[in-house]
Structure formats: C-alpha cells, structure tokens
C-alpha cells in the first residue's frame, strides 16, 4: 500500500528542494500565528503562509490559482484584516490565560489525534493510480483550461457564487452602517443655542485647556481665577475616558522649584 502511495506523483528535484525549504517555513509561520500574542504579528505570519501557499500552487501547475491566491488573499483579505485591526485597536492583544479550565490540553490532544489520523490516512491511501500530472489538461494553458470548465460545466455554480458575493457585500454594508441617533446640529443652531440659552457664560466659546505658562496639553484643564480646574475646558471624550491630568500640580505656588528647571 505504502509503496503505491510513494509511486504517486514523483516530482523533479527542484520541486523537492522548493518543498523542503518552504514547507517547514510555512508550518513555522502557521505555528507562530497560533503562539504570538499580538494580532498584528499573527496577520503578518498569516500573509507569509498565504504567499508560500501561492508558490506551492504555482509549483503544482496551478498558475491561475497561484496568482489569484496572491491577489485575493495577501492583497484583499489580509488588507481587510489589517484594516479591521486598526479599527478595533492594534494593541488589542490576547491575554493568554485560559478562561475555560483544561481547554488547552484538550485542544492539543484532540489536534494530535486528528493530525495523526489524517497523516496515517494519507500514508495508507493508494490515491487511485499513478500521478497523471496536468500536462495534458493544461495543454491549452491553465487559464484557458479553467475557463472552459468554469463556463461550461460549472456555469450555474459560478452564477450562484456571484449572487453570494453581492449578498455578502450588501450584508457587510448593512452590518457596518451606523445609524446616528440624533440629528447633528448645524452651526447656526449651535450659535443660537449659545446666546439664547440659560446663561451667557459660554457665549464667547468654551475655555481653552492648559495652565497658563506652565502646561498647555489638551488633557490638563484650565484654572479658573479662584484656582479650581475648569472641567469644561477638556474635550468630553477625554473626560469620559478618564484621560485628564489634575491641573493643580501645575499651579505656580505648588510646583516644586527645588529641583531646578523643568526638563
């Protein structure tokens, strides 16, 4: 049985060299994807796996699929992944502690079992007959051969897949669409609100952040004449996130001058 399996698809030496150089790299990158903490690093390793797979496709006479793999996966899909990573937060790394106790040993045991099963299955399979190779099928060219199949035998699945693509694009648009809860006020409305409101305290605009001559960052509230910090000089988002420094330490009387000039 095993002898038959080995006789299937003898390849030339250059391809063997290519395989034995790239396959360990691919497996290492895939394992690294599993083990690294940061999602961005996973994405980079994923891209390298995709490129290696594209090289394998081209080495196996699947020129069209190799090119499509690079264009679709390393181009579009990885771009999408990185884009979403930027949106969700680049530094969103996993905490590697397990929440379900014993999950990791179980997963690794199951993987070893499954992998072993697959490997032994492949090694025992006779895979039918001797490898034929794609020389005859690709006699008109790989792209032409695929096109002939795609537009004759697979024309109905092809149409269905195009419907699927349109549905997916629509679905993504619906999911990502953000309905604003309130109508955004116009500049004119804002101006009317400032002058016709309850008080004229903010008629000239909100105070700017920072303590005069000491610290002018946007996260330090301005000091009012009586020494209290003016909370409305800080952006509401910064306040909600709690990214607000106490301005009291920057007051003239309270700064520690014994250390000399501030750097």
């Amino acid at each position: 049985m095993v002898d038959l399996a080995i006789s299937v698809g003898q390849t030339q030496t250059p391809e063997a060299l290519l395989f034995w150089v790239l396959a360990p790299l691919t497996v290492a990158a895939a394992l690294g994807m599993l083990l690294v903490k940061k999602a961005v690093h996973s994405a980079i390793l994923m891209a390298s796996v995709m490129i290696n797979l594209a090289i394998f496709y081209i080495a196996q006479d699947a020129l069209f699929l190799g090119i499509v793999q690079i264009v679709v996966y390393t181009g579009a899909v990885m771009m999408l992944f990185l884009f979403i990573l930027m949106l969700v937060g680049v530094d969103s790394s996993d905490s590697l502690t397990e929440t379900i106790p014993g999950l990791r040993p179980i997963a690794i045991t199951a993987a070893l079992g499954f992998g072993g099963l697959m490997m032994s299955l492949i090694s025992r399979a006779t895979l039918g007959r001797n490898a034929i190779g794609l020389d005859a099928a690709n006699s008109l060219g790989n792209v032409e051969g695929i096109a002939q199949l795609l537009f004759s035998r697979y024309v109905w699945p092809f149409e269905v897949v195009s419907a699927l693509l349109i549905t997916a694009a629509l679905g993504a648009m619906v999911l990502a669409h953000h309905q604003s809860i309130q109508v955004r006020p116009t500049q004119r409305q804002l101006s009317t609100q400032r002058f016709r409101g309850e008080s004229l305290a903010n008629a000239a605009g909100l105070p700017a952040p920072g303590v005069f001559a000491r610290h002018n960052a946007v996260d330090v509230p301005a000091l009012l004449p009586d020494g209290t910090p003016a909370a409305n000089s800080i952006n509401a988002t910064l306040q909600a996130r709690g990214d607000m420094l106490p301005s009291g330490t920057f007051e003239l009387g309270k700064v520690d001058t014994s250390k000399g000039e501030e750097k």
Partner: protein
C-alpha cells in the same frame, strides 16, 4: 519527492488552524485560523487535481476562495458590530446567552 507530501502539509496546516480556532480568543485571530483551514483544504484540492490530471479540483479551489472572501467580509463586519456595542473583540465576552 512525491505529491502526497503536499497532502501531509495540508493536513498539518488544517490541524494547526483548528487548534487556533479553539485556543485563541481574539475574534480576528480566530478568523485568521479559519482562513488557514480553508487554505489547507485548497492545497489538498490543487494536489488532488494534479494527481488525477484533472482541472476540476482547481475550479473547486477557486470557488472555495470566493466563498472564503465572502466569509471574511461578513465575519469582519460582525466583529466590528460586536466591537462597537461591547468594546471588545474577545470571543469569550460575547456570552449573554449564558446568563
């Protein structure tokens, strides 16, 4: 070297992807592992296509790529929607049905 080596590689990559789906908790990384599994299946399709001297396998791999692209688009949109309402991309945080 024989073409079955590609099948071994494909099985290995599929297993690694499956472990990733179970073990990792960041939804985006889980998604990348699903992509890895789909790609491993594609490699097997291409290899079988070569062993059988028939382009049907490559056409199926092509369809798999299209479906994978759809899956990524919709899946990432779902992740963004969940992130928007829960401020987290961890798959363990979306457990409202438990309580």
């Amino acid at each position: 070297m024989d073409a079955a080596n590609y099948l071994y590689l494909s099985a290995l990559l599929f297993t690694i992807g499956a472990v990733g789906v179970v073990v990792r908790r960041n939804a985006i990384v889980v998604f990348m592992c699903v992509e890895l599994m789909l790609n491993a299946a594609n490699l097997a399709f291409v290899t079988f296509s070569r062993i059988n001297g028939d382009l049907n396998g490559q056409v199926v791999a092509f369809f798999t790529m299209v479906v994978a692209a759809c899956e990524v688009v919709v899946g990432l949109a779902i992740i963004v929607t969940i992130y928007r309402s829960r401020r987290s991309a961890s798959v363990d945080d979306a457990s409202l049905l438990k309580r």
